[in-house]
Every structure is written in structure tokens, then in C-alpha cells.
């Protein structure tokens, strides 16, 4: 090769190197850019290639780290917001609950005070409002979360389409002399962003195209084609959005359970583990408190001496039919025993042979017992499920039962209760021992158990002790205008503890001590209700009773929600800080390999500039040599 040829080739090669360095400098702040190098073949200045410096394994790590980070960011953001919401002293339930029971206690202290009655009335309204407001704020988070799901799915679809497009362009240029480095950078950047949204796995085909899979191997991009995802309600719950594959007929197949990574997976998990339990739990407190306060209030006498009514209007469980059901019938679900109710949703299914109740979200089967008195009515989890309208149900029909999901929103004051006089402060019953009683028996307590039939309840009763019948321990004959019934002491007090209860016509009297033959006790309607606080003491006592699932008081149950969400938020924060560290570390690794260092490029710039000048000098020298030769020939 001639010296001129060498000089020209070198000049071109360094010009190219200078251009690549310049490109590196120009892109030093471009996200996803991988630095490039001109690679010369030793001894052959005419053959050089531009290599994109990247490490496929580090890139894969970066995508995993990105998916984890996306997951942790969403979790910590939602858990943190819900955490602050429920714990806050103005938006939380705890202060309203405690003020409500304080007011009930104050009314118990002074049942004659109209001010105390109206205070409790107002605190009841404030409590109902607090339930609704808290539920509303959680519902805001749910709306926002569903919105983010929908937005994420849109973005994923766009990215998948872009990836398919890049794949197609890579395929077009696969025969070219230089690799399509700019396209590969774009593709890697897109995959990284996609991975943060949903967590992906990729494979590079021999033709250079990249296949992208989500979840446990569901294809999203294959070569130049992308599958579309959709966000729409596909379970029986019309509010929550599910993720599905769009089918060719426009329908969709639900793939929620495969989406476990990235922001999208985290949104689904957060909805199931933070929002649903919180809303259900708060709803459970509302239903439980409302039902028990109502039941208690009905057992006493109100400010006018009348039997108390309902204070709250408690919502019934919500039932939704699956859209695929053969029957249009709905099971009638009502509250059977509020203390057995749980903060779970349930699914009732027919399996052809009968009805099966599953707890959600774990789908555990909950045993149901059929009410022997009402065939077709099943009892489970504190609920009564009437299946008599489901005769035409086909196998596989399903119904979603949400006992408490929106209860905090729906609970309201009983519209008939217009002021505080409706609170039943006084006990309904009064009991007295006859002045001539010779025995040692004393009345401990008398109270109403069932006030649904006031005429029977208030029927004055005389309890007369008869010694020696039917056995040595004797019996009580309870006489009312409705008839006489005998209660023998052996049955009432089998262990001879000296304390026994007699239940009759909806009331219960507790006696202590041995009565003598002919002793008389009377039970009748309480005519001295004005200053009586027995019933309100019981109602105020609900605050310290283990009413929620028989295990926790209202305050404890709410504290439980705080603890659960608090520890979830704490875990999410720890996960966020850990995955941030990992992400930063992997990013540093990638940057260390593919990132541009300006000092390095400046040095290269100097080096290539000097080399370029030297090559130019070769051409100049060759020119001088040629001139020298010409001059020699001329002379």
C-alpha cells in the first residue's frame, strides 16, 4: 500500500473515531445511551466497526431491579397514604369512636339531662359521618388505583407496540454492515421502562429481534407483533378493574394471577392486601357497632318511657351475580349473628351437587350448616344465605357476597330518630321481692332479652317458690295472664351454686340465695325510667366488650387495622429502600460499562486529534516526498 493510501485510510479512520467520540460526548446525558467505540482491525485501516458497549446480563439484572423498584414504589406510596389516612387524628376513626362512647357514658351518668341526650345524638351522627368519610377516602384511593391500572395497561400497550415496531426495523436492517446501535439503545430503554411497569423476561432471537414475556411466560411481543392487554371489570365486582388479554373477537381472558411483578402487579396486590381488608374491616366495625347498639337500644326504655328503637340504619350484605350465571336469581343474604361476622368477602358457588361457600381472596371452602327450621337457608360466617330463589342455577354459577365492603359508606342514622330522646337509657324491667319473703333469695338483676313483642314482655309476672315439688329442691311457678310455667331449681341451678336465672316471656331475672316456700318475686315493666341508667350503662359498656369476631373491642379492632397497614407500610418502605439500593447498584454497573465518561472522551478526543494530525502529516510527508521526487526528476 502506498504511503498516501495509508495516510488517507488513517485519516478516515481517525475522523470516524473523532465523530464517534463526539457522538459519545453529545449523548453523555441521554438516558439509555450506550457508549460506542470504533474498533480497528490490527494492520487493516480500511476495516473498522463501531461497537456498542453493553452487557446483556447487567441489562437483564437492571430490568429485574427495575421491576422490584416499581413494585416497592407503588406499595410504599399506597400503604403510606392509607397509613396516614387511618392513623390521622382528624380523618381516623379512633377519635370519633372514643367521643361517641364518652357521650354514651355521660348520658349513663345523668340520664335525665337533655343536653347529654343531644350530645350523644350529635356524636352518633358524627360517628356515622366519620365512617362514611373514611370509607370515601379509601374509595378515593381505590379509584386512583384503578385509574393507575388502566393507565399502566395503556402505557404497556404503547410500549409493546413500539417494541414490535423496533423489532421490525431491526429485522429490516439485519443485513446491514453496521449494527443498528441507536435502535438497540431505544429498545433496551423501552424494555427497562416496561419492566418497571410489569416485570418482563426477554429472549434475543438469532435474527436480532427481541421477544418479550410477562408474568409466568405470557407473550407480549413476538418479533414484529404485539399482544394487547386490557383493563376492565372481569370478575363479579363491577368496580375493580382486572387485567386481561384481548382476544381476536374483542373479548378478554383474565390474567390477574399471572401479573405479580412491577407496578401493575403491585397495584393488584395493594388493592387486595391493603384497600380491601381496610375497607372490609372498617365496614365490619360499622355493621357490628350499629347492629349491637340497635339491639341494645331495643332492650331498654327511651326518654319517653317507651321501648327503644333502632339508632342506626345498618346496611345488609351486598350480593352480586356473576355475568355468566345461568339463573338471574340472587341468594338473599342477611346478618344472622353480627359477632361471628368476618372482614372477608365470600363467593357462593354451585358445583352441580350443592352450594359451596368460598372465602376470598384465598378461596378456602367455609362449611355451611343448613337451618333445620328453614330448608334452603344456610348459616356461615355470621350470615344467613337463603338459596331458595336459586332453583334454576346451573353448575358453576357464582355470586360474590360482600358483607361489609361498603357498609361504612351505607351506615346511617335511623331517620325516625330525630333527637336524643330515642336513646334507651332505662332498663325495661323492674323486679321486686315480696316484703313477706322468708327465704334468703335476693334479686341480683333483671333485664329484657327480647323486646320484639312488648305486650308479652311487659305482662306482669309473679314468681312463687314451691318447696318440695317436683323434687327436694323445689320449683318456681311463674304466673302471668298468659299462663303459668314451672321452673325447677334442679334444672335452673344443676350445680347448686346458689345463683340461678329464670328466663320467661323475653325477660331474665337473676336470683341469689335459697328461697323459702311461698316466697314471691314480681317482674313487671319498669315504671321509674326517668333516672334509670341501666340500659345506657350496658350500651356504653359495648366499648370494652370483645364484640368483633368475639375477640376484639372496637378500638382494638381499629388499632389492629392500624397495625396491619402500618407494618405493611413499614415493609414497603424497607423494600423500597432495599430495591432502590439494588437498582442504584445495578445502574452503576451498567453505567460503569455503558456510560459515557467525559474525561475519558476528552482524552480520546485529544488522542484521535493528535492521530488525525499525524495522519495528515503522513499525507503532507507523502506530498513532500512526491514533490522531492518530481524536483529530482526535473533537475
Amino acid at each position: 500500500m502506498t504511503i498516501l493510501g495509508i495516510g488517507t485510510s488513517a485519516l478516515l479512520a481517525f475522523q470516524r473515531s473523532l465523530a464517534v467520540t463526539g457522538n459519545n460526548i453529545g449523548n453523555s446525558a441521554t438516558e439509555g445511551y450506550s457508549r460506542q467505540r470504533v474498533e480497528l482491525v490490527p494492520g487493516d485501516l480500511n476495516t473498522f466497526s463501531i461497537r456498542r458497549i453493553a452487557d446483556r446480563f447487567v441489562d437483564a439484572q437492571l430490568r429485574t431491579a427495575g421491576a422490584d423498584l416499581g413494585d416497592a414504589e407503588v406499595r410504599s406510596a399506597y400503604a403510606g397514604r392509607v397509613d396516614r389516612l387511618v392513623a390521622d387524628s382528624t380523618t381516623g376513626l379512633a377519635p370519633a369512636l372514643s367521643r361517641f362512647f364518652d357521650a354514651a357514658n355521660d348520658l349513663a351518668n345523668d340520664p335525665t339531662s337533655a343536653a347529654n341526650r343531644s350530645l350523644l345524638f350529635n356524636e352518633s351522627r358524627a360517628l356515622v359521618e366519620r365512617f362514611g368519610d373514611l370509607n370515601g377516602r379509601l374509595e378515593e384511593q381505590r379509584t386512583r388505583l384503578n385509574g393507575e391500572i388502566s393507565q399502566n395497561v395503556d402505557e404497556i400497550n404503547q410500549m409493546a407496540a413500539s417494541l414490535a415496531d423496533i423489532n421490525a426495523r431491526v429485522l429490516d436492517r439485519s443485513g446491514g454492515r453496521t449494527a443498528p446501535n441507536d435502535l438497540l439503545d431505544q429498545r433496551d430503554l423501552l424494555v427497562n421502562q416496561l419492566s418497571k411497569k410489569v416485570g418482563v423476561k426477554t429472549t434475543i432471537q438469532d435474527d436480532g429481534s427481541m421477544n418479550v414475556f410477562i408474568g409466568s411466560g405470557q407473550a407480549l411481543v413476538i418479533g414484529g407483533t404485539a399482544r394487547q392487554l386490557t383493563a376492565r371489570p372481569m370478575s363479579d365486582d363491577p368496580i375493580n378493574l382486572d387485567i386481561g388479554y384481548v382476544q381476536s373477537d374483542g373479548g378478554a381472558v383474565k390474567i390477574n394471577r399471572f401479573i405479580t411483578d412491577g407496578e401493575l402487579g403491585s397495584l393488584l396486590k395493594t388493592r387486595e392486601t391493603v384497600l380491601d381488608p381496610a375497607q372490609n374491616q372498617i365496614g365490619l366495625i360499622a355493621v357490628n357497632l350499629g347492629s349491637l347498639f340497635n339491639a341494645g337500644n331495643r332492650l331498654g326504655l327511651d326518654g319517653n318511657g317507651e321501648p327503644g328503637g333502632d339508632v342506626f340504619r345498618v346496611p345488609e350484605p351486598v350480593v352480586r351475580a356473576s355475568s355468566k350465571n345461568a339463573t338471574t336469581g340472587l341468594p338473599a343474604v342477611s346478618i344472622e349473628n353480627v359477632k361471628d361476622m368476618t372482614p372477608h368477602d365470600y363467593r357462593l358457588r354451585t358445583d352441580g351437587a350443592g352450594f359451596v361457600l368460598q372465602r376470598l381472596p384465598d378461596e378456602a371452602v367455609i362449611p355451611m350448616t343448613e337451618d333445620p327450621d328453614n330448608p334452603g337457608q344456610w348459616l356461615a360466617a355470621g350470615l344467613r344465605i337463603d338459596t331458595n330463589d336459586l332453583a334454576s342455577a346451573g353448575a358453576g354459577d357464582a355470586w360474590l357476597i360482600q358483607p361489609t365492603r361498603i357498609a361504612a359508606d351505607r351506615i346511617a342514622m335511623n331517620p325516625r330518630l330525630i333527637d336524643g330522646s330515642g336513646f334507651a337509657t332505662a332498663g325495661a324491667m323492674n323486679a321486686q321481692e315480696h316484703v313477706d319473703n322468708a327465704g334468703k333469695a335476693k334479686i341480683v338483676e333483671v333485664r329484657a332479652l327480647d323486646a320484639s313483642d312488648p305486650a308479652t314482655l311487659f305482662e306482669p309476672a309473679t314468681l312463687r317458690f314451691e318447696a318440695g315439688v317436683p323434687d327436694a329442691r323445689g320449683q318456681f311457678a311463674v304466673e302471668t295472664a298468659l299462663g303459668t310455667q314451672s321452673f325447677d331449681l334442679t334444672t335452673l341451678d344443676p350445680d347448686n351454686t346458689g345463683i340461678f336465672k329464670i328466663q320467661h316471656n323475653g325477660w331474665e331475672i337473676t336470683l341469689r340465695g335459697q328461697p323459702a316456700d311461698g316466697d314471691v318475686f314480681t317482674v313487671s315493666r319498669n315504671e321509674h325510667h326517668v333516672g334509670d341508667n341501666r340500659n345506657m350503662l350496658n350500651l356504653a359498656g359495648l366499648a370494652v366488650e370483645n364484640t368483633i369476631q368475639g375477640k376484639a373491642t372496637y378500638a382494638e379492632s381499629y388499632t389492629g387495622i392500624l397495625a396491619d397497614i402500618g407494618s405493611r407500610a413499614r415493609q414497603a418502605e424497607i423494600a423500597l429502600s432495599a430495591s432502590t439500593t439494588v437498582f442504584n447498584e445495578v445502574t452503576a454497573q451498567r453505567e460503569s460499562i455503558a456510560g459515557v465518561n467525559l474525561d475519558e472522551e476528552a482524552a480520546n478526543l485529544l488522542r484521535y486529534q493528535q492521530a488525525y494530525q499525524a495522519a495528515a502529516q503522513i499525507i503532507a510527508t507523502s506530498s513532500t516526498l512526491f514533490d522531492s521526487l518530481l524536483a529530482a526528476a526535473r533537475s
Binding site: S28, G80, N105, H528, G531, A543, G566, A588, E591
Partner: protein, 422 residues
């Protein structure tokens, strides 16, 4: 390791942001004085603090209940003191009045003063508290508990029976009755003299009721004091053989017989007629209604003598002029009945006062206990969620320094570039 330029920027920014977060956190902690700003900062601590908070609230409620109970119990106590003074005076008057040297007129003055005392006690029995509720009415607290009929007979119309006295909770397990019913204080005073009798028809199937009881023969009654007699009823028979039940106007005629329960001695018998007065052992029982065969009336010493009747009766005795032996005897017996029953009333009041005093003492003890518990609970809560300012301030200073260092480093490093030298 090779470092890229953007990595240098990012590292610098990251460390500044971390330091800024720490500084902000410090500011928030110090502004609120709390170590736990949201439950996620320390879930178990926050839960414990919330539980303690619930305990604090309920204990404070018990204290409030106690504050309400105390004045009521104190008022009951004050009333009982006043009643006690009145009774002491009444007792002195009865002792003075018994003295036979008094003229009818001066005994009349004594009787008048006794009636004054009775009226004062009636006023107390119907007194109200600051809340406008009747102190001795039990739960029927907006109605005067004592009513006086035309002839001065006082009856109790307040609440009686279970739950007649309002109770307040002063701890999770203690409820305290915050008063006494008028029936317990003024009416159910044990009869001490044994000379006042009552009759009971309990267990009967007929319509027999007791219209009145009294004493017809003082010495005889005195010798039979404390005894129980039974009047039993059976169908009256005619003189045929065998005897047949007697009927009059289509109704079976009943006969009564009286026996002494202590030894079974028969004390007389006769044909019963509606509204008749049966006399035996110096006593009299007036009956009305129709007995069924087998019905019984028990004449026995009265169990209770209410304070109003005791005072009324002795006043009535003092108002009678002393004309003969019988009237002198009546005075002496009336005085002795009154003195025994006044003494009984005094000890009855003492008992009730002790009761109320015990409740006040319990209340004070529980209040002290609650107060101690409140301090304990608040200390525990503070230990869990309150900020240690000394520690927080030094931490804040550290983070502040870290932030300054990060900022300065960032500025310095970014000045370094080879391009500056080309």
C-alpha cells in the same frame, strides 16, 4: 471501577436527597414532639400507644364518673347528718314529754315541735340535688318520692327493687350505687318495740284483705308482744249429722278460728262476715273480702316502722289529755314504743351513713388508683411515642452537616473536568 459522568452526578444528587430527607424528618419530629409520626414508623410501638390511649380515655371517663358520683354521695351524707340531728332532738322531746309532771298544754307544745321535726324530715326526704333530681327517689328522680295523704300518712312512690338506685362505673369492674332510695332510708326501719302489729294474707286464694290492725287491750297486748297468731278460715257447718256446709244467699258461710302459733292454743273462733274486726290477745285485725276454705291471716309483729308514723303517733299520744289510768298507761306505752323505734331509727341511719361513707371512701381510693394509673399510662405512652429532644437535636445536627458536606462535594466534583484544561 470505571465511572461514567452521569453516575457522578447521580451519586451526588442521591446523597443530597438522602440527607435532605433526614433533615426534613428531623424537623417534623421536633415540630410534633413525637418519635412516631405515622404507624409505619414503628408499627408495634404505634399499636401499643393506641392501646394505651384507649386505656387512658376509659380511665379518664371513670374519673369523670367519679366526679359526678361524689357530690351526690356527699349530699346524701349531709342529708343523713341533718336527719340525725332532728332525730336526736325528737328523742329528747319524747323523753321530756314522758314526764308526768307536764301539763296537757306543755305536752301539746312538745307534740307541736315533734310535728315540726317530722315536717322538716319530710322536706329532706323530698329534697332535690343541683341537677333538680330528687335525692331519695331512686331512678324515678323527677317526681317527689314521698306523698302525704289527707290524714298525714306518708307513703313512698319512688323507685324500688332491682336497679332502683342509679349506678356509675368507676373502674372496669366496679359500679357504685350513687344514693339510697327513700324506702330504704325512711320506710324500712326495723320495728323495735314489738308492740306494733301487722297482718298478712300472703298465699291466699280468696279476696281477703287486711283493712287495719291495732291494739284494743294494752296490758294483754304487752304480754303477747312479739307473738304471731294465725286466723284460719273454714266452711261453717250446720248442726245436722253429718254436718253440712252452711249457705246464705247462695254463698258458703265461713268461720274463723284464732290460734297462738307458739303453742297452738286456740284463742277463739266465730262466724266471719265481711268488714268485721277480729280481736284476740289484745290485738285487733279488721278484714274485708271473701276468704276461701284454707285461707289464713297471720297477725305478727310489724317488721318496719317508718319514721313519719313513729313521730306522728307519739305526737298524737302527747296531744291526749291525761285523765285516768288508762290514758297514763297509753302515754307510757306510746313513749316506750317511740323511744325504742327512735333508737332503732338512729342506728338504722348510722348504718346507712356508714354505707354511704364506705362508698365515698371506695370512690376516693379508686380515684387515687385511677390517678396513679393515668400517670403510669401516660408515662408509658410518652416513652413509646415521644421524642427524646437531646437525641433528636444531635441527630438533626449530624444530618445537617451531612447535607452541607454533600452539597459542597457536589459543587467541587463538578468543577473537575478535563475540558477545563484543553
Amino acid at each position: 471501577m470505571r465511572i461514567s459522568t452521569s453516575q457522578i452526578y447521580r451519586t451526588g444528587l442521591d446523597s443530597m436527597q438522602r440527607a435532605q430527607q433526614q433533615v426534613t424528618r428531623g424537623v417534623m419530629e421536633m415540630a410534633s414532639g413525637k418519635r412516631i409520626l405515622s404507624p409505619s414508623d414503628d408499627p408495634s410501638g404505634a399499636t401499643t400507644a393506641a392501646r394505651i390511649q384507649t386505656r387512658i380515655k376509659s380511665t379518664e371517663q371513670y374519673q369523670r364518673n367519679g366526679d359526678l358520683a361524689r357530690p351526690r354521695l356527699e349530699q346524701t351524707e349531709v342529708n343523713l347528718d341533718a336527719l340525725n340531728n332532728h332525730l336526736q332532738r325528737a328523742k329528747e322531746l319524747v323523753v321530756a314529754g314522758t314526764n308526768g309532771t307536764h301539763s296537757t298544754e306543755s305536752r301539746g307544745y312538745i307534740a307541736a315541735e315533734i310535728r315540726q321535726i317530722r315536717n322538716a324530715m319530710y322536706e329532706i326526704a323530698n329534697s332535690r340535688d343541683a341537677n333538680g333530681e330528687y335525692v331519695f327517689a331512686g331512678t324515678n328522680s323527677l317526681q317527689a318520692p314521698f306523698k302525704s295523704n289527707g290524714v298525714g300518712k306518708v307513703s313512698y312512690v319512688g323507685a324500688e327493687g332491682v336497679g332502683a338506685v342509679r349506678e356509675l362505673a368507676i373502674s372496669d369492674t366496679w359500679t357504685l350505687p350513687i344514693g339510697e332510695t327513700g324506702a330504704d332510708v325512711f320506710m324500712k326501719i326495723p320495728e323495735r318495740s314489738g308492740m306494733i302489729n301487722e297482718a298478712s294474707t300472703q298465699g291466699n286464694t280468696g279476696t281477703l284483705t287486711v283493712k287495719g290492725t291495732g291494739i284494743v287491750n294494752i296490758p294483754l297486748a304487752q304480754s303477747n308482744a312479739g307473738k304471731t297468731f294465725t286466723i284460719s278460715f273454714s266452711p261453717a257447718l250446720d248442726s245436722q249429722t253429718p254436718p253440712q256446709p252452711l249457705f246464705e244467699d247462695g254463698k258458703a258461710v265461713m268461720q274463723y278460728s284464732v290460734t297462738d302459733d307458739s303453742d297452738g292454743t286456740p284463742l277463739g273462733s266465730g262466724r266471719y262476715s265481711d268488714g268485721m274486726s277480729i280481736e284476740f290477745g289484745g290485738r285487733r285485725v279488721i278484714l274485708s273480702g271473701d276468704p276461701n276454705p284454707g285461707d289464713r291471716v297471720e297477725s305478727r309483729p310489724a317488721r318496719f316502722a317508718d319514721i313519719f308514723s313513729t313521730l306522728d303517733e307519739i305526737a298524737t299520744v302527747f296531744e291526749q289529755p291525761l285523765t285516768d289510768d288508762d290514758s297514763r298507761k297509753a302515754l307510757s306505752i306510746g313513749s316506750s314504743i317511740a323511744l325504742s323505734n327512735l333508737a332503732g331509727t338512729l342506728s338504722h341511719f348510722d348504718e346507712i351513713r356508714a354505707n354511704v361513707g364506705f362508698r365515698l371512701q371506695t370512690l376516693d381510693n379508686q380515684t387515687d388508683l385511677n390517678q396513679d394509673r393515668l400517670i403510669q399510662l401516660k408515662t408509658s405512652r410518652s416513652e413509646i411515642e415521644d421524642l427524646d429532644y437531646a437525641e433528636a437535636i444531635s441527630r438533626f445536627k449530624l444530618h445537617e452537616t451531612a447535607l452541607q458536606a454533600a452539597q459542597q462535594t457536589y459543587a467541587q466534583v463538578n468543577k473537575l473536568s478535563l475540558f477545563n484544561f484543553i
